[in-house]
Amino acid sequence: MLIQILNGLVYAGLLYIVSVGLVLIFGLRRVVNFAHGGFYMVGAYAGYTAAMVFGFWGGLIVAVLVLGLIGILLDYVVFRPLQNADHMVTVLVTFGILLVFEDVVQMIWGADTLSVLAPYPFDGTVQLGDILFPVYRLLVIAVAIAVALGLTLWLRFSRAGLYVRASSVDALTTGMQGVDTEKLSLSVVGLGTALAGLSGVIASPLLALSPSMGSSILIESFIVVVTGGLGSFAGAFIAALLIGQVHNLGIVYVPNVASMLPLLLMVVVLILKPTGFARSYS
């Protein structure tokens, strides 16, 4: 039971890192970014290839940087020119990007699934009570906590974080205070996609790499983001925790309907509170 809760935390952690990138991008650009799943996938593949040269951690850094650059490009080429267009237009453009990315990844890396080993010294197991638990899984939880903590501290206590919070609620007023909100968006979208890259690399020792891995996590992270309340960091954190547990405990106790539980959770939350757990940054 305890181990299952821990497993729920691992999955929640992974979902959180993917989702929080979506939240950042939604906050500043009001775009539900379908390409995010593609970024997660590209991150995993980029990390995989870079790891051959630089090792796992080097690969992680390369993937994060590459994805950050892609995000900056995305904001510059897509989000900024389209900021006054209908949001659905931007959403569909990101959908198109996802399609292209899946195809390109398949072109470069092939349709075969690839796998990555957990890096030393996290490749072993640790004794928890009388059960062995993979150390790497604990690392995933730790990374998720570090991301959550880092983001929270950054948003709460740094000047840039204050700008991000303000800009996502009222970009014009924030601009009036001398904040270049376009540049801010550029870097925040970059940060969001870098987090997608990070999650892709972090996921790769757990999950097989395949061109379809992006869309398979995309829907689950949408569920997290929408259940948490669009644009809410705390909401995404709580929703990821909840969905991680619902998902895992569902498999243990009600295996036949487990896959429907996160969807139903989201439906129920939206019926009770159409804005999700939280309204805005909190």
């Binding site: 181990i3 299952q4 497993n7 729920g8 691992v10 999955y11 992974l14 195809d103 398949q106 092939g110 349709a111 075969d112 699934t113 690839l114 796998s115 080993l117 957990a118 490749d123 197991t125 059960i131 062995l132 638990f133 993979p134 790497y136 899984r137 996921a203 020792p205 757990l206 999950l207 097989a208 395949s210 061109p211 379809s212 891995m213 398979s216 996590i217 689950e220 998902h247 895992n248 405990l249 498999i251 243990v252 295996p255 896959s259």
Partner: protein
């Protein structure tokens, strides 16, 4: 505007007619391959494509079948049943009335009922659903590979030699995963083994940890795995991290194939499994095949589905030869009851359900000549490996 539209219309019509006209020539044998070139099963589709290309090139190099060259056309199904059906119909309409290539059982199940209406014939080499040669069998559908229910016989041969009493099942929550789990349960209980845990994960499951933990908690000594493709790799990788693979005896179907081994590396070492085809089979015909394969695709050995697809092609070509016709109806008739030599030995095609009666294998992943690959440990003869045809099939 109206004139522009008119021109466009004329151009389109001319194009369409030209496209249609090309199907008039029938000197060649036209094989239409509707397979998953992209999507979740894209890697399997690519295997099918390699094998078909190989077989066709080989037969054409020998001058074709009865002097007729073989021609292929591919269409991508993304392993989706509705698209597969459309693509198959498209191939048939273009004159490619000999079909193959389905990956998911759903694809073949969607196409099979249409074969008579289309006047086509189909050779299944990958889909394992029992129904294809059972309740949903078709006079025009043939199966080269081994259906789920038949794997049980092979499992039984292996299982009775294993000392482990408590077993768990980790299956894909799909028809074949469930079927495989059910037939393993039946086999196991016949051999006084207990099933202590069962889990079926949906296609594309990311995190297998809850299933793995459940198996570990159950005290199982062995686990039967019916997962394929990305799911198999996800499970194996995570099971390794939890120490499950080292602690328990692991065996499965479609779980450890050449492809998964390539991806998993050392993780897969020692895993048992049903091997429907292995390049390590020690027959002269197979050796020749493996050598020729390595020439066409340097540095590779034919993998599971590649071997099975090639096997299907061998029998198909024999049938066409026997029929001495390109008519699907004649070919179907010729295939019924045919007996021919293949890379795994003599094979006959059962009249009752159009299933190939053939041997099956059990083996484990071992290091052979410095590479990890499935190595056959137990060969099961055709009469044991292929139980009697399903009564539900009425041809």
């Amino acid at each position: 505007m109206r004139t522009t539209k008119l021109y466009a219309g004329v151009a389109a019509a001319a194009f369409l007619i030209a496209a249609g006209a090309s199907s008039a020539a029938d000197a060649t044998i036209k094989i239409g391959v509707a397979t998953a070139l992209t999507g979740a099963y894209g890697d399997l589709g690519q295997q099918v494509k390699r094998a078909v290309d190989f077989a066709v090139e080989e037969v054409n190099a020998k001058g074709g079948i009865d002097g007729r060259k073989v021609e292929t056309q591919y269409q991508d199904t993304q392993a989706k049943a509705d698209i597969a059906r459309q693509q198959a119909e498209k191939l048939v309409n273009d004159g490619f009335t000999i079909l193959t290539g389905s990956i998911a059982s759903g694809e073949a199940l969607g196409i099979a009922p249409m074969l008579e209406r289309w006047d086509a014939v189909m050779m299944g080499t990958v889909p394992k659903a029992d129904a294809l040669t059972g309740a949903e069998c078709s006079p025009r559908f043939f199966r080269a590979n081994i259906p789920d229910y038949a794997d049980a016989a092979t499992v039984g041969t292996w299982l009775k030699e294993q000392s482990e009493k408590k077993w768990a099942i980790m299956g894909s929550d799909t028809a074949w995963g469930r079927n495989s789990g059910a037939s393993f349960t039946k086999t196991a209980s016949g051999l006084t083994r207990d099933i202590v845990a069962e889990g079926y994960a949906g296609l594309g499951t990311n995190d297998f940890a809850p299933y793995i933990q459940k198996i570990l908690d159950s005290g199982a000594e062995g686990v039967w795995v019916a997962l394929a493709g990305r799911d198999a790799i996800n499970f194996a990788q995570q099971a390794k991290q939890f120490g499950l693979i080292d602690k328990l005896k692991v065996a499965g179907v479609s779980f450890v194939t050449d492809n998964t081994v390539k991806t998993l590396g050392d993780v897969s070492k020692g895993i048992y499994g049903i091997i429907n085809y292995s390049s390590t089979l020690d027959t002269p015909a197979n050796k020749a095949f493996v050598d020729a394969w390595a020439k066409k695709y340097p540095g590779t050995l034919p993998a599971n589905f590649e071997g099975e697809t090639y096997l299907g092609m061998q029998v198909l070509f024999a049938g066409i030869d026997k029929a001495d016709s390109t008519s699907p109806e004649d070919i179907a008739e010729a295939l019924e009851g045919i007996e021919t030599d293949t890379i795994i030995g003599k094979i006959s095609v059962r009249q009752a359900d159009h299933q190939f009666v053939r041997g099956n294998f059990f083996g484990r992943i071992e290091d052979q000549d410095g590479t990890l690959r499935p190595v056959v440990a137990t060969s099961v003869a055709a009469d044991v490996a292929m139980p009697a045809a399903d009564d539900a099939c009425k041809l």
